[in-house]
């Protein structure tokens, strides 16, 4: 396989929380510019795998990692890798929308501000960036008169879209999503899924979901994990219709457990 079509490549990736091994020899290639979904029962290591890709796992304490992770062809455990630069390129969206308790405007600019020298962002430039980010997540019309409101007082759906918009000014390549719709209602879920489909191509999406219908709807490739191991990784339709591994078949046909 040609490397340049893959945004993320891992080679025999294992991870331990203290003594507990949460990932076992995971080798996976995530295609660039597409939506890939990660499915599997709770506790199978989906979220852990996701958090490896911007190395934010390390902020949670006693974590040991072995193996190789290449993002855009670069090994992220190389000594010259800056975690802050890595996290700019690999953004993350969480299960519960987590806008910061500051205004919509400041939320969008938060990432940019912490990475720019003080006072280097001109007002007109900031306004433009905010408008652009909100437009690309279809929030501009709803929020253009509410830029000064506290982001935590928005509707959940708007909050989650804002959390996606907040990543965009940093010009990420990859967006990791950890069950981004599980706190949203059906309408919000559809809105976020639609947004992902529009943005895919520009960005590589990797999405953890418990909702198999969602995995089928949005993703072009799908990965099934079970107890820390990668069981099967194929095109979504093939994985659901003709699973190769019996464990995958059990799960996707709801016979798991």
């Amino acid at each position: 396989m040609e490397t340049n079509n893959h945004s993320i490549e891992t080679q025999n990736l294992s991870l331990w929380y203290g003594d507990f091994q949460a990932l076992i020899d995971v080798s996976v290639n995530i295609p660039a510019g597409k939506i890939t979904s990660l499915i599997g029962p709770s506790g199978c290591g989906k979220t852990t795998l996701l958090r490896c890709f911007n190395r934010v796992n390390e902020r949670y304490g006693n974590v040991t990692t072995k193996g190789e992770i290449k993002i855009l062809g670069k090994n992220i455990y190389d000594p010259d890798v800056s975690l802050l630069e890595l996290r700019k390129t690999v953004g993350m969206v969480f299960q519960r929308p987590n806008p910061l308790p500051i205004s919509v405007y400041d939320n969008i600019l938060f990432g940019l501000r912490i990475h720019s020298p003080f006072g280097s962002l001109k007002r007109s430039q900031s306004d433009e960036i905010v408008e652009e980010a909100l437009t690309s997540v279809f929030l501009w019309d709803d929020l253009k008169d509410k830029l000064k409101t506290r982001a935590t007082s928005l509707q959940l759906e708007q909050q989650q879209k804002l959390c996606i918009a907040r990543l965009l000014p940093l010009k990420p390549q990859i967006i990791l999503m950890d069950e981004p719709c599980s706190a949203l209602d059906a309408k919000g879920t559809l809105a976020v899924e639609e947004l992902m489909s529009v943005l895919a191509g520009t960005y590589t999406f990797l999405i953890v979901t418990h909702n198999m219908a969602q995995a089928r709807r949005v993703s072009s490739e799908c990965i099934y994990m079970f107890l820390g191991e990668l069981i099967e990784h194929r095109e979504t339709q093939a994985l659901f219709e003709t699973p190769e591994h019996p464990k995958t078949a059990d799960y996707v046909q709801m016979r798991y457990g």
Binding site: V56, L84, K88, F110
Partner: protein, 305 residues
């Protein structure tokens, strides 16, 4: 057992014997808890009311701004009042930054390992050490070893050691109240820990932190033991009405010690004076606490999530 189909519609949803008993017990407990609440408030009101009643003859601005006179049998409380302010302010100037920043380190940077566990254990235990023990430590460490002599500085440092663990504990509580998801959001945008603390964690915990610090004013102001061997004296006259009358290398008077002295050591004190002294002590503490509450309310209106 009656099922609702056995009884006539008129009797449906009416009270049964068990229902009556449950309602009775419910009322008994409600009244019991209410009485307990009254018992808690009553002594406070009685104490303050009694103090006021007894102190009324001597209370005046002059009482606050003049030194004790006639071998402490008369006069006011200016020297001890100003002394207490000095002790409290200097001790908080030392304890608040150390305590708050130590708590920030323990909560935001330190990982959960044997070192932080020992530090946390030490903080909890230090908070439980009796104040007279802090006093002995203060004499040894500050008065003798550091050579500060008996002075406002030595006494304040002793008070600072005493209040430090509680400030650390209350700051930790305030920091923990900031949801983890805010920190995660920051980290995933590539923020350093300091940027996260500076822009999100501190602005959202500052009301809790300040309240914790200010509540230590009342503890520092009320303590007698830690200061009586380290810097507070029975009697020292200072310039009346001059708020800069003490130097921090001086010894000073303090309200708590002064109250003890005139109540037990000095014969024939004018009757209202000990009560007046107590009112000044309690009043200034209540005033500071009220300020803390107002500040807290103000800062809280600005935070919402």
């Amino acid at each position: 057992m009656n099922s609702s189909t056995d009884i006539s519609p008129e009797l449906m949803f009416t009270e049964t014997g068990i229902g009556r008993r449950n309602r009775f017990i419910e009322n008994v407990f409600k009244i019991f808890f209410f009485i307990m609440t009254c018992l808690m408030i009553l002594p406070l009101l009685l104490i303050i009311g009694y103090l006021f009643y007894k102190a009324l003859p001597v209370l005046s601005l002059d009482f606050l701004f003049s030194n004790p006179k006639d071998n402490m049998r008369g006069g006011g409380v200016w020297a001890p009042f100003l002394g207490t302010i000095y002790l409290v302010v200097v001790s908080l100037l030392v304890a608040a930054p150390i305590g708050v920043f130590a708590a920030v380190y323990l909560n935001e940077y330190a990982r959960d390992n044997w070192f932080t566990r020992i530090v946390n254990l030490a903080v909890v235990n230090l908070a439980g050490v009796p104040s007279i023990v802090h006093a002995l430590f203060g004499v040894g460490a500050f008065v003798l070893f550091a050579g500060l002599g008996e002075s406002i500085l030595a006494a304040s440092l002793t008070l600072a050691i005493m209040t430090l663990p509680v400030i650390i504990a209350s700051t930790t509580e305030a920091l923990k109240a900031v949801p983890m998801s805010f920190r995660e959001a920051c980290w995933n945008l590539g923020a350093t820990r300091w940027q996260t603390i500076r822009r999100i964690v501190l602005p959202n915990s500052i009301s809790g932190i300040l309240t914790g610090v200010i509540l230590q004013v009342s503890r520092a102001a009320g303590e007698t033991a830690p200061i009586m061997f380290t810097g507070a004296v029975f009697y020292k006259a200072i310039a009346e009405g001059n708020p800069l009358a003490y130097n921090i290398t001086d010894q000073c008077m303090a309200l708590s010690l002064h109250l003890y002295t005139i109540s037990t050591q000095v014969p024939d004190v004018t009757e209202g004076i000990p009560y007046g002294t107590a009112i000044v002590l309690v009043g200034s503490v209540l005033l500071v606490n009220a300020a803390a509450i107002i500040l807290r309310i103000y800062l809280r209106t600005r935070k919402r999530w």
